[in-house]
């Protein structure tokens, strides 16, 4: 069996007395697409933020290519090849599209690779190329999501994490976004997608992990998860 690219074991995050996540465990194989599913408040964003080093894990381990990274800071994690396109995009709205993208390349060791990476993002999202000198604050919701993904790709990651990439977008924009993610996956990029919309995520995912109130409750292949009768229970609560 091949060594997992990312192995999360019993990950816990506490905000003071509040529990962000209690016990999250899953693995991500190289080149795979893994969906992190769960209802609002299940702990998906906290899990991704902990993986990105934005919040400190209070328990458990995160193994990245065999190295423990749960104590690492965000910039050390990006430099290791993990990038996050955060929920709500978190763009620098005063800065131009190109400046946002260039900031995404902060962790890049070889600056010479900046230009080809920029070209790759522009070929993936031609709309961004058209708006490269425009400030990010003037973009539409779909374009902002493209920019958030493009910016994360600028660090040339091995693992791209996306937090709710479909949130607040028109259905046609969501389709385009997932098509692009499919192309990235086909090109060999490993994806970890946190989504509330399980249909969307399971369509593209190889494997899925379902969280409920900060704990992993289901894990398996996308098909197993889709057909599992407990899935709806996990989403909608025990009453269903």
């Amino acid at each position: 069996m091949s060594e997992a690219l990312l192995r999360v074991s019993k990950l816990a995050v506490h905000y003071g007395d509040l529990v962000g996540i209690a016990e999250v465990s899953f693995e991500v194989e190289e080149g795979a697409v893994v969906a992190l599913l769960g209802a609002n408040g299940a702990g998906k964003t906290t899990t991704l933020n902990a993986l990105a080093g934005l919040v400190r894990a209070s328990g458990g381990t995160i193994l990245w290519r065999g190295e423990r990274i749960e104590e690492r800071s965000a910039h050390e994690i990006v430099a290791r090849g993990i990038a996050l396109a955060p929920e709500g995009w978190r763009l620098f709205v005063q800065q131009t599209v190109e400046q946002n993208l260039r900031l995404g390349a902060t962790a890049l060791a070889e600056r010479a690779r900046l230009a080809p990476l920029l070209e790759r993002v522009f070929s993936l999202f031609p709309r961004l190329a058209e708006r490269r000198r425009q400030s990010a604050g003037t973009l539409s919701g779909g374009e902002r999501q493209m920019l958030a993904v493009g910016r994360a790709l600028m660090s040339d990651p091995k693992l791209l994490m996306l937090d709710e990439p479909s949130l607040g977008l028109a259905p046609s924009v969501v389709d385009t976004m997932y098509e692009t993610l499919g192309r990235l996956s086909a090109a060999g990029l490993t994806l970890l997608i946190a989504e509330q919309s399980m249909e969307l995520a399971l369509e593209i995912a190889d494997r899925a992990t379902v969280l409920q109130t900060g704990r992993t409750v289901l894990s398996g292949t996308a098909r197993e998860i889709a057909e599992n009768p407990d899935l709806h229970r996990a989403y909608l609560g025990a009453a269903f």
Binding site: G53, R90, L103, A107
Partner: protein, 321 residues
């Protein structure tokens, strides 16, 4: 529109350079010198408070350190007060490292509150530190022992010295704006978590910004002590010293190169004139005006005049076309 804004700024720069020569009245020359001095500290604050978005309300601690370093160098070592400036800058570096590392874990209002506490604590310590004059403060030389004492009757030489320091600071800030550091600081200012998620070493760059900001604020404090020849806990470490820097930068445009200078050009004459007109009992009048200005900025133009003026110009230009 941008070209016209640039013309206005060049005009301000020229006016600043020749302003005190235009009038022989020492009162106005003194105000001109104080404008430039205030612009130095507000521009220094701007590096961390404006560009990096870390709103410090405790920058008086650096100003006070600089002021006290200058007059301690004179009273205790017999050196010209300006010789204390490098010591003040050195102390500011040490303080930045001590204060910055823990306080940069805090964000937003919590960071601002921590900075107020640090300045208040420093003020209390100095008030109770007999060696540094306690609550009475320290005096500079009454008569010049040598030219190095920088004791002049006319405010013009001070004005010239301050202008050189301001020019150095503005050139440094201009360079920083265009460098990777400026890029990162603006990213931190507009979204710390987003910047962190892209791999920007947040705390390291905030610390660099604090080093630059603190050093120039300390230098401004030393220059103030050299010119005024007196420093006490209130004029060095008082909360109003910090508030002045924040309001000037916010009025002109925090995070812009010339914003703090524009703020100083408006606010210092306002303060000095109300003090002169209303006398001892009216010295607080300027701060009432400050309060009104803060409310107006917050309500109508959070980006200060740097944001407000282009908006007005943009509104006018379509009609003219």
């Amino acid at each position: 529109m941008r070209a016209s804004l640039r013309r206005v700024l060049i005009a301000i720069a020229i006016l600043l350079a020749i302003a005190p020569v235009l009038t022989q009245d020492a009162f106005y020359q003194r105000i001109a010198a104080l404008v430039v001095l205030a612009a130095i500290s507000a521009s220094a604050w701007n590096v961390i408070g404006g560009y990096a978005g870390q709103v410090s309300f405790g920058h008086s601690v650096y100003f006070g350190i600089g002021g006290y370093a200058a007059l301690l160098a004179f009273t205790k070592l017999g050196l010209p007060p300006i010789a204390g400036a490098p010591l003040g800058i050195l102390a500011s570096f040490v303080l930045s490292a001590i204060v910055g590392l823990p306080s940069f874990r805090l964000r937003g209002h919590y960071f601002s509150m921590a900075t107020i506490a640090i300045a208040a604590l420093a003020g209390l310590l100095v008030t109770n530190w007999g060696y540094a004059g306690g609550a009475i403060g320290l005096m500079g030389p009454a008569t010049p022992r040598s030219p190095a004492d920088l004791l002049f009757r006319s405010p013009l030489p001070y004005y010239a010295i301050f202008l050189v320091v301001l020019a150095i600071l503005l050139v440094l800030t201009w360079w920083m704006e265009r460098s990777r550091m400026g890029f990162y600081l603006r990213a931190i200012g507009s979204g710390e978590r987003a910047a962190a998620s892209l791999g920007v070493p947040i705390r390291r760059y905030k610390l660099y910004a604090l080093f630059i900001s603190g050093a120039f604020t300390a230098l401004a404090g030393s220059l103030y002590a050299v010119m005024i020849g007196f420093i006490d806990p209130d004029s060095g470490f008082g909360i109003l010293v910090s508030v002045n820097m924040v309001v000037m930068a916010a009025l002109g445009g925090a995070g812009t190169l010339f914003g703090p200078l524009v703020g100083a050009i408006i606010l210092v004459p306002l303060e000095e004139t109300t003090n002169a007109l209303l006398g001892g009992g009216g010295t607080g009048a300027a701060y009432v005006a400050y309060g009104v200005i803060i409310m107006l900025i917050a309500r109508f133009s959070p980006g200060g005049l740097a944001q407000f003026l282009p908006r007005i110009a943009a509104r006018k230009s379509p009609r003219a076309a």
